[in-house]
């Protein structure tokens, strides 16, 4: 079980787990629940550069389309093929097997939230 208090969060409902210079990124349980059943995930290509705050992918549910924002600047070093193959992982395990991309970054942006601030933001 992922320690949710060890993660950092964005106001766009992404979470980031930092290990050295690698950030693993996913969307929160709150976002997954709001989206509904995820049926399609498009992730950025491995090796590509992403810019924090820009749209780099799509998360599509039965009812709506959500955009995946890159929370950091950096190079995509891995995209979770398991989620592409089985998008329901985003709903069933958003903080675990439902992770989306790993990005090699040089600096984290300002303004990332801790668990308490994030849950306060979404009113839970």
């Amino acid at each position: 079980m992922t320690d949710l208090n060890a993660l950092q969060y964005t106001a766009e409902h992404e979470w980031i787990a930092v290990d050295g210079d690698i950030a693993t990124v996913g969307i929160t349980d709150f976002a997954a629940d709001k989206l509904g059943d995820v049926v399609f995930v498009e992730l950025p290509e491995v090796g590509g550069e992403v810019t924090g705050g820009t749209v780099v992918g799509e998360i599509e549910s039965t009812k709506s389309v959500g955009e995946l924002y890159a929370p950091v600047d950096g190079e995509v070093v891995e995209a979770n093929q398991a989620v592409v193959d089985d998008p329901s992982l985003v709903n069933s395990d958003p903080f675990g097997d439902g992770w989306l991309v790993k990005v090699r970054f040089s600096a984290l942006p300002d303004g990332l939230l801790g668990r308490d601030d994030y849950t306060a933001l979404v009113g839970e």
Binding site: V39, F40, E60, T62, V65, N91
Partner: protein
């Protein structure tokens, strides 16, 4: 009823002034449950209008697009209320629930306009029109196990002399009691599955919901929300008011030409416009099937093979049952033939799509049905 939905963990959305349960668990799980077992829906937001009197049938013939006077007792018919331009004010189910009595079921968002239109049209006929929606709750049980579940619902008793649930044919109705008050049961629905719609006194709705839920639990019944209702009806090719149907489309454009009874005697609202037909080039409703996982959504452009916009999607989803994207769209007549290869502009990507017969999904009918 609201307390029940809250207790079931429903997520709500606001629709026509109602807090509607949109899903309870997962809309995909609810969708599959309705296809393989059964789902129970609270659709109390629908409007019910009572039309009674010796001339009730003649009145409805003169007002609605269908021929309602020929309905047999406890028979239902899908029909339309048209405007003077032949556009669709609402699509309706009308039951004949007594010799001189009909029940008109309207969409929630159109309840007031349908009721007012009927009330305004009533003078000149020996008929009484009443919007009775506030006193009636509507519970739908849909899915292959629906009959078995409603049959074994404790406290729900078919009235003597009325058809048993096994004997009620599609688009027919029967009468029952629950808590000593009348329940009207139609074998109709909006999911493409077998099922029943139970019109019950609002005072008994929560108890009836609970009784059905108890009876249905061993048979796979789950509470089902509006989200899965939308994917179910889309697979079944059923148009939705505000998406496929509206005041600017003639019935024939929406594939509902057969619903308008031009053979019946006398005038009715919209008749002249329907007889005149749509203007040249008016777009037609078609079904589109695509490959992959990315669905076209309402408002997305439909393109021909050279990339020219020839239409627009009105409803679209990744079909949970079929596993590929499906959509309803209005397209130019030249692009409406079955088998035409088109494309959907999905946020900048062109997804190939083919014009496909409707419905996308139809249940396997039993040999005896």
């Amino acid at each position: 009823m609201n307390d029940i939905h809250v207790a079931l963990g429903a997520a709500f959305t606001d629709f026509a002034g109602w807090a509607m349960p949109v899903k309870y668990s997962s809309d995909l799980a609810e969708h599959h449950a309705v296809r393989t077992a059964a789902g129970i829906f609270d659709i109390s937001h629908m409007g019910e209008i009572s039309v009674r009197g010796p001339e009730a049938g003649a009145f409805l013939d003169a007002t609605l697009a269908g021929r309602l006077s020929v309905l047999q007792l406890m028979q239902a018919k899908y029909t339309l209320l048209l405007n003077d331009r032949g556009g669709i004010v609402d699509d309706l189910i009308v039951y004949r629930n007594g010799d001189d009595e009909y029940l008109v079921v309207a969409n929630a968002s159109n309840r007031a306009v349908v009721a007012q239109t009927l009330i305004d049209a009533a003078p000149g006929f020996d008929v009484a029109v009443d919007d009775v929606s506030d006193g009636i709750a509507l519970i739908a049980v849909q899915g292959p196990n629906a009959q078995a579940i409603v049959e074994r619902t404790p406290g729900l008793e078919i009235v003597d002399g009325q058809a048993t649930l096994a004997d009620v044919r599609y688009y027919r109705a029967t009468a029952a009691t629950f808590a000593e008050r009348d329940v009207f049961i139609g074998r109709t629905g909006y999911t493409g599955e077998d099922g029943f719609e139970l019109y019950v006194d609002v005072r008994d709705a929560a108890a009836l919901w609970s009784a059905i839920t108890v009876a249905g639990a061993p048979l796979g019944l789950v509470p089902a929300g509006l989200a899965c209702r939308d994917t179910l009806r889309l697979e079944a090719g059923m148009p939705l008011y505000g998406h496929e149907l509206g005041e600017d489309a003639l019935p024939v454009q929406a594939g509902l030409g057969r619903v308008v009874a031009l053979a019946k005697d006398g005038d009715f609202r919209g008749r002249a416009a329907v007889e005149a037909g749509p203007v040249d080039g008016a777009r037609l409703l078609v079904g589109l099937a695509a490959e992959g996982r990315r669905a076209g959504r309402a408002g997305y452009a439909v393109l021909d093979e050279s990339g020219v916009a020839v239409g627009e999607i009105t409803s679209g989803a990744l079909s949970p049952t079929l596993g590929h994207p499906i959509a309803l769209a209005y397209v130019d007549p030249a692009s409406a033939a079955i088998g035409t290869t088109l494309a959907i502009d999905v946020r900048g990507s062109r997804i190939p799509a083919t014009v496909t017969p409707l419905p996308f999904y139809s249940r396997k009918k039993e040999a005896t049905a």
